[in-house]
Symmetry: C2
Amino acid sequence: MSPYRHVVIFQFKAEAPAEKVRGVVEAFRALPAKLPAIKAFEWGTNVSPEGLNQGFTHVFTLTFASKEALEQHYLHEPAHQEFVAMLGGLLEKALVVDYVAAA
Amino acid sequence: MSPYRHVVIFQFKAEAPAEKVRGVVEAFRALPAKLPAIKAFEWGTNVSPEGLNQGFTHVFTLTFASKEALEQHYLHEPAHQEFVAMLGGLLEKALVVDYVAAA
């Protein structure tokens, strides 16, 4: 079955303290251990040489077995909602796109 | 070595003909066979239930061995530049973020 990718891209506010930004990254990285619906997790900061990142700096790609897994065992889970609550006031913008990976 | 991910996200213009949009997808899908620096390729259209896609609809994730591979064996290759030329007039917006995948 094709993996379901959940791509989350953040731009933090200029005034967001670096320590809080690190805390968000660490909290996101801690989710897979709490939520087994997350089959794979990877992240990184933008290093594109093309200058088409529109201010976005942090990319997180989570893999689920299916959209149902995301909807039923991730989005509404307390661990995820606690993570989302941490973001309050820190983000300039966020983009979320999900796709079923095709070749 | 950690894979280098190149994430390309498009919103096509509302008036872009569906046939042209399909042509862009097919041309992008054809690049890995022409450019061996592309170690993996996957794509899909947005199916996120969260409504945070900001109008973006098409996601392509390409994997390279390194940033150097992208810079030296992809961005300036004629096959890639022909692909980019196809996009003219069809895109409402594009976002490109690259990251070295960390756990």
